[in-house]
């Protein structure tokens, strides 16, 4: 009870401060600029909640104040049951009221017709929520949490209930609300009035759904093209990934270490870079194209710009991911199964077809679905190589920024894309839940894997070696391309691109970052550095709750969080600009929207990593800490986090790197003030400035390799010192991690 009062006191204090000392509404110049302090509190835009009610005539806020004070009353009640009930009731009512008033009352007054007829027109509207309003909303959420805790929910652990409530609140605001707004946006006109025409005409649009190509017409709708491309990419990357995995684990291939290095590539490669490199090789003025022209007289054509080119780029990009997944699957097939098969008079060929391959099937299906989802979500490669044959993700982009702006069309396309990826995501879940022949068990499993049948061995080598060569050439192009003057026209070497992008001058004794790339480079670093710790924190907190706490609806909670990863970046981008462009929450054009986007897109990685690491910690450690008078916050801080250090570093680095390489969502959210490296590079590509684009890309890759290598050094050392409690289960965990990581 004493603790209960302490935390309520804090809430009441913060709540009162939110009503009195900070602007209730959004500050245009930015809250953290603190420029508003000089005009506070009597400026109409900057007034705090209390003055908004008293002086500005925003009387509806009285309800928020009343509900807040009602919750405060609980502080002075002694009966735990009634106290809890009152807190929950005022919290629920408060948060619902805050949401409704925010949505219903915008700049111009009522935005909904129903309350206007009920209460009459309003004389004054309201801008987007600011520090005051947001704090009060959070306090209502915490009222609910503390009320539930006092009623004994989650064994009365206020920290855990609070974390769950806040996480649900954040996921609602940053994932479900934007997606919902996008649905609504699809049936709204520019002025916000209900107009389903756009939706209807777009859904019936033949350019989306036409099946002309099947009946001899020239091309199919964009939805079918995307689906077809995704299936082909899934198949291609799975097959190649399997070949790589077989070579890496079942043969005496001499460069296995090099093969494994491949798995790092997709993490550090900005998504459009492969497309860019392909252009330099096979484009109209690419090296290979020109060579073929001069040697064989083959006319340069534009074959690369279309589905074929995108497909090659995607298979190149996603094969390493599929390799990473399948290497675990192939190693996971228990050698004793294969040995058993051989003692039962089956030769290598029969063993492979009847035992090894069927056991790998679920893993193969999983790899396919990952390739499928990745291809659907890929934005960079289609943008560079798509030409006029776009796919859904690029079409969405052009519906927003193109010559004919059509938000309704963008929303429709986004919904189609979303339904494709979510279907695949569900399929993946179903596949993984039932049919996993996990043959890595806790039991010691000795024995050697059966070698590959000769014919298969030859085939996979025949595929892997050239493809490896191809990959090396492509990445070589990326590094080399930045030093060539004008690709195809003037192949002389130069440092000019690097100089233009990254030059530093000294003017008047001061350092001047005069290169064109510095602005976006530093913004990228800044935002990546801000979002990485947040991502890791949110992800690990979620993992802690999922692994260590039991509560009703936990599965739904986990599913909702994981699902956010199956939402393509383009969809997130379009939904964020639709949702956060106007009250109640206005963030577009700020750094905040980029940070929010990264945190909620990359969080599932932190969650997966955290879950894997935390499952290895004996649960009695937490319980011991709890019985030693430490509450769960202290337990998390003093016991779990120190033991999870490697997982934390991994989550930090991964979210940092993802924030740098991400493009699909970012391209919608950048502004003149906050431009990110990737969107800047895409801009360069669109202007045909390949040299600088490539130079900038290699610079990014170099930065990320440095970061990852540094982190490997630190973490590798820690691993050695740590006692490995369940080493037998390790490989399996890693597979799970990588499978989800890319979904």
């Amino acid at each position: 009870m004493k603790n209960g009062n302490k935390r309520l006191n804090a809430l009441i204090g913060i709540g009162l401060a939110a009503f009195v000392f900070v602007p209730w509404y959004r500050v245009d110049s930015g809250f953290f600029a603190f420029e508003w302090i000089s005009r506070f509190p009597f400026n109409a835009d900057l007034a705090p909640g209390l003055l908004q009610i008293a002086l500005e005539g925003r009387i509806w806020l009285t309800a928020a104040l009343a509900l807040f004070l009602l919750g405060c009353c609980a502080r002075f009640m002694s009966d735990a049951d009634a106290r809890g009930k009152l807190l929950v009731a005022s919290g629920v009512a408060g948060i619902i009221f805050m949401a409704l008033q925010g949505l219903a009352i915008t700049f111009i007054g009522w935005s909904w017709a129903l309350p206007e007829t009920l209460f009459g027109p309003l004389s004054i509207g309201q801008p987007a929520m600011g520090a005051g309003a947001i704090t009060i909303s959070l306090i209502f959420v915490l009222f609910i949490a503390f009320g539930l805790a006092e009623r004994g929910f989650m064994k009365g652990d206020a920290f855990v209930v609070g974390s769950i409530s806040v996480l649900i609140f954040l996921v609602t605001v940053f994932i479900f609300y934007p997606i919902g707004s996008m649905f609504i946006g699809s049936v709204q006109d520019f002025d916000g009035s209900f107009k389903p025409d756009g939706l209807i005409s777009n859904i019936q649009d033949p350019s989306i759904w036409s099946l002309d190509c099947l009946i001899g017409g020239n091309r199919c709708g964009v939805a079918w093209r995307t689906l077809f491309l995704a299936v082909m990419t899934g198949l291609g990357s799975t097959l190649l990934g399997l070949c790589f995995a077989l070579v890496a684990t079942r043969t005496n291939f001499p460069f296995k270490k090099g093969l494994r290095l491949l798995t790092v590539l997709p993490i550090i490669t900005p998504p459009f870079v492969i497309g860019l490199a392909l252009t330099l090789l096979f484009g109209r003025s690419g090296v290979v194209t020109e060579a073929l022209d001069t040697v064989f007289g083959i006319e340069p054509s534009r074959w690369l710009y279309g589905l074929t080119g995108i497909w090659i780029a995607q298979v190149l990009s996603f094969t390493p991911i599929s390799f990473l997944v399948l290497i675990g699957v192939v190693e996971g097939v228990s050698p004793s199964m294969e040995e058993a098969s051989q003692t039962l008079r089956a030769d290598r060929w029969r063993t492979f077809w009847r035992i090894s391959l069927p056991l790998m099937k679920p893993g193969l299906a999983n790899a396919f679905l990952i390739g499928f989802i990745e291809s659907m979500a890929d934005f960079g490669n289609p943008l560079v190589l798509g030409g006029s044959h776009g796919v859904l993700s690029t079409e969405i982009f052009f519906a927003v920024v193109g010559s004919q702006v059509d938000p309704s069309r963008a929303a429709v396309l986004a919904m189609i894309l979303l339904s494709f990826t979510l279907t695949a995501f569900m399929a993946q879940r179903v596949w993984l839940s039932g049919k996993n022949f996990a043959t890595v068990t806790g039991k010691g499993d000795s024995g050697a894997h059966a070698g590959l049948p000769k014919s298969i061995s030859l085939t996979v080598h025949g595929i892997v070696v050239p493809w490896m060569g191809f990959t090396i050439v492509v990445y070589g192009m990326i590094l080399f391309g930045g030093f060539v003057k004008t690709w195809g026209l003037d192949n002389s070497l130069t440092l000019e691109h690097y100089a233009r992008a990254f030059s530093i001058d000294i003017q008047d004794g001061a350092l001047v970052w005069s290169g064109v790339a510095w602005d976006s480079f530093w913004t990228t670093m800044e935002i990546a550095l801000i979002s990485a710790p947040l991502t890791a924190a949110v992800g690990l907190l979620t993992a802690y709750i999922i692994v260590r706490q039991k509560f009703a609806g936990k599965n739904a909670f986990e599913f909702a969080l994981m699902m956010s990863f199956a939402i393509p970046g383009t969809v997130i981008g379009i939904s964020y600009i639709m949702a956060f462009n106007m009250p109640p929450i206005e963030m577009t054009g700020s750094a905040l929207i980029l940070v929010a986007c990264f945190v909620f897109r990359n969080m599932p990685v932190g969650v997966r990593g955290g879950i894997a690491a935390m499952s290895q910690l004996d649960k009695s450690l937490d319980e011991a800490s709890l019985t030693l008078k430490a509450n769960s916050a202290r337990t998390l801080r003093k016991v779990i986090l120190p033991l999870l250090r490697p997982a934390i570093t991994a989550a930090l680095v991964y979210s940092f790197v993802r924030a740098i390489t991400s493009i699909s969502a970012v391209i919608f959210l950048v502004s003149a003030e906050y431009n990110m490296a990737t969107s800047y590079i895409v801009g360069l590509v669109e202007n045909g400035e390949y040299g600088i684009a490539i130079a900038y890309s290699s610079m990014l890759i170099f930065v990320m390799i440095t970061v990852i290598a540094g982190f490997q050094l630190i973490v590798g050392e820690r691993r050695l010192r740590r006692e490995n409690r369940v080493s037998g289960l390790d490989p399996q965990r890693k597979i799970r991690f990588s499978q989800e990581k890319t979904a």
Partner: protein
Amino acid sequence: MTDLKPGSVVFENIRKDFGAFTAIPDLSLTIEPGTLVTLLGPSGCGKTTTLRMLAGLEHPSSGRILIGGRDVTMTPAHERDVSMVFQSYALFPHMNALENVAYGLESSGYNKREVRERAEEGLAQVGLGGMGHRLPAELSGGQQQRVAVARALVLNPQVLLLDEPLSNLDARLRRKVRTEIRELQQRLGFTAVYVTHDQDEALAVSDRIVVMKEGKIAQEGAPRVLYEEPVSEFIADFMGEANVIPCEVLSREGDVALIDVGGLQHRLPARQSSAGKAKLAVRPGSVVLNPDAGGGLDGEILTSAYLGDHVEYEIETPVGTFFVIDHSVDRSLPAHTRVSLGFRNKGLALIES
């Protein structure tokens, strides 16, 4: 560890469900301050669940728990005045012994000097003074166990909970450590609740034993009572081995019953029995063997095994097969010897049939 304040424990109509499964249907139990009470039972009997509810690691579905007279039913673990020694010890691997012991003191808000003093005193109490700088991985099993006990005890809890504290030690060490725990408990006088599935351990350390079966209390009482006066076949069998055989109660005079076992007549405490058919539990050591004379229960030795300090026999009689332990090792009888069985005065009990 000076200002000890042993507390009582009361369970009032506790029920615990895990989803559709009811682990404990209705449990009421009182534990006197300053006593060591053992919860004993086969795995899955609900003893660990009971302990965890006392610690606050599980919350009961209904009912009340009182510690030291205060209702703690809804109190979270870290606000309860109990501490626990875990089966796996759960020593924090990244902290040394002293830091482990100090952890709870820090959480309780003692100042730094006090934390250090008390933690060192606690380690000294369990004979580990000067080992504070070692990491758990650098301590032996027995030492780790003692760090775990010290870590729990320095908080001066009203009740100390021990969850199978000896199960990770080898047999020889187990005997030593259980004596230490008992000695410590008697010296410091704290209330302790001890969970185990090993009846020897329970008999050795407890003031009182609570035997549980399927979430219910099967019998509770002093160790001697449980061993010598089991109320049911389950208890008789669980508290050391017992021969359970049919008998007939011939008559009852006050508290004494006269019974007939295959022609052999014997007097023993009547308990709840009445005249008619009944069941008798006989400890293997309570059977007397007479190789030559008759007048007892006739039997034939089926197997005979010499075990150093005693001989084990399986003996077939008209009322069933007896398992007998005989300490007169000089007179080891071979199989197929015909013997006559008699009963000692102790170690027999009429049980629920």
